[in-house]
Amino acid sequence: MIRPELVCPAGTPASLRAAVDAGADAVYCGFQNATNARNFPGLNFTLPELEQGIAYAHARGAKALLAVNSFPPAGETALWKQAVDDGVRLGADALIVADIGVAQYAATRHPQQRLHLSVQAGAPSVEAIRYYTEEFGIKRVVLPRILTIPEIKALHAEIGCEIECFIFGNHGLMAEGRCSLTNYVTGLSTNMDGVCSPAADVAYIEDAQRNLTVKLGEFTMDCIACGGMAGYPTICKGRYLAPHRDDGYYAFEEPISLNLAELLPDLVKAGVTAFKIEGRQRSRAYVKAVVAAWRAAVDNIMEGREPRIADLLAFTEGHKQTQGAAASKRWR
């Protein structure tokens, strides 16, 4: 059985160190600009921070992956090319790309650089993945969170590259790289500006009875009663009123987190090479606890034991977790 790599989020240098210290095989991070799909204010790395972060990871036997996984607007490719060049120069072990132009630039300008295909590319089929592997030499695909384990196994048999899949964290079933809900409401693009539900447009309004109203721009996304669980302020997790409904309902998805702990052995058997933990926007406390828990779980299954894992429910969105499409496609 091949030992799967545990790929962990690093939104800040402190989180990077926390992830490495907790047992990450690899960390993934991005620059403080629109070149990565977690371009949130106060997050991410400057050039010196990334250089130090990569050195920290390498000194401890971990890899550092750089996400350059958003899509450059027309005529504005310079920033993405610079990010690719900087990532190579600083010694990133792989660049995680989504846009075919960025992939082409990286593949031709830096042919020795290892490339991974971001989940943002939204490549769920043999044909799509082969296109990236054949054209750009992609070595690993991060699969969208819409595939069952038998489907992953079938892909593995035919695509000829490594498979990375999410095992914990945000459970977004909107087609990655294609969602324009934020763009519709705020004018900023998740895919090109790298920010879903920009915090500058988010408003939380709590009344005297502790009922919470969540707004993005002019749109009310949810009204949560006192004591009710909250989720991220994304449109796809909002609860809306509709003429045919008495109360607000989750029109797209519910606030819930992915947790595939019980399925780890099946994922390994299906050919998954790397397990990815979502959460670059989360704190170092999250990174430390979650990475340590999954480190233990992966080590357990490699030693033939049950994937015993700490209960991570307290870290989940809305205090709910799901196996999502990995178990079945009957989630809706």
Binding site: G11, T12, P13, A14, S15, R17, F40, P41, G42, L43, T46, P198, A199, A200, V202, A203, Y204, I205, E206, R210, L212, I224, C226, G227, G228, M229, A230, G231, Y232, P255, N259, A261, E262, Q281, R282, S283, R284, A285, Y286, A289, A296, E306, P307, R308, I309, A310, D311, L313, A314, F315, T316, E317, G318, H319
Partner: protein
């Protein structure tokens, strides 16, 4: 799924002895006695950890209200690198901030300490964010990126007694952490 830990191990403890201790210790303190100490604290943090201002970014001129809801005062922070200020105010008399972050005293301490996850606390409504969400998020990330603990920095200012009080608050406040 097998379970080694229960969820409470990564959540703040319910307000209890430490909460009562802190409230008892701080409630009778006139605010004017706290102000010079708070000023020293924020200037020390700014001197020791100037990188914090980079992540707060365009929001360094804004005002943040840190509201320990079970204490008889709020803290008002101006993270201006040229003139960082931190002062206490009575809740009813506090100036309207650009952003407000509220929660139980021990919860806020644990977040500042890097021991609890702000998002998880927000999900459970134990942490409240109001006003300028982006400014609050930047402050959160800036604090979270600091190596070690701001609480340790503050405790160090008061020598062994300060460190002893902090150790007590941590021990009583989060009894299951790390198990």
């Amino acid at each position: 799924m097998a379970t080694d830990l229960n969820a409470s191990s990564i959540r703040p403890a319910a307000p209890g002895a430490a909460d009562a201790l802190a409230r008892l210790a701080l409630a009778p303190v006139p605010l004017f006695l706290m102000q010079p100490v708070l000023g020293r604290i924020v200037r020390r943090i700014a001197r020791l950890r100037p990188e914090i201002f980079g992540r707060i970014g365009p929001h360094v001129r804004k005002s943040f209200q840190i509201d320990p809801v079970n204490m008889p005062f709020v803290l008002v922070l101006h993270p201006d690198p040229a003139n960082p200020r931190l002062c206490a105010a009575r809740r009813h008399a506090a100036p309207r901030p650009d952003a407000r972050i509220a929660g139980n005293f021990l919860t806020l301490l644990a977040v500042a300490d890097g021991r609890l996850d702000g998002d998880a606390l927000f999900f459970t409504r134990e942490l409240v964010v109001e006003g300028d969400t982006e400014a609050a998020v930047c402050l959160r990330h800036a604090l979270d990126d600091l190596e070690g603990s701001i609480a340790d920095d503050v405790a160090d200012m008061f020598g062994p007694p300060g460190r002893a009080v902090l150790a007590l608050l941590r021990r009583v406040g989060t009894p299951n952490e790390g198990r």
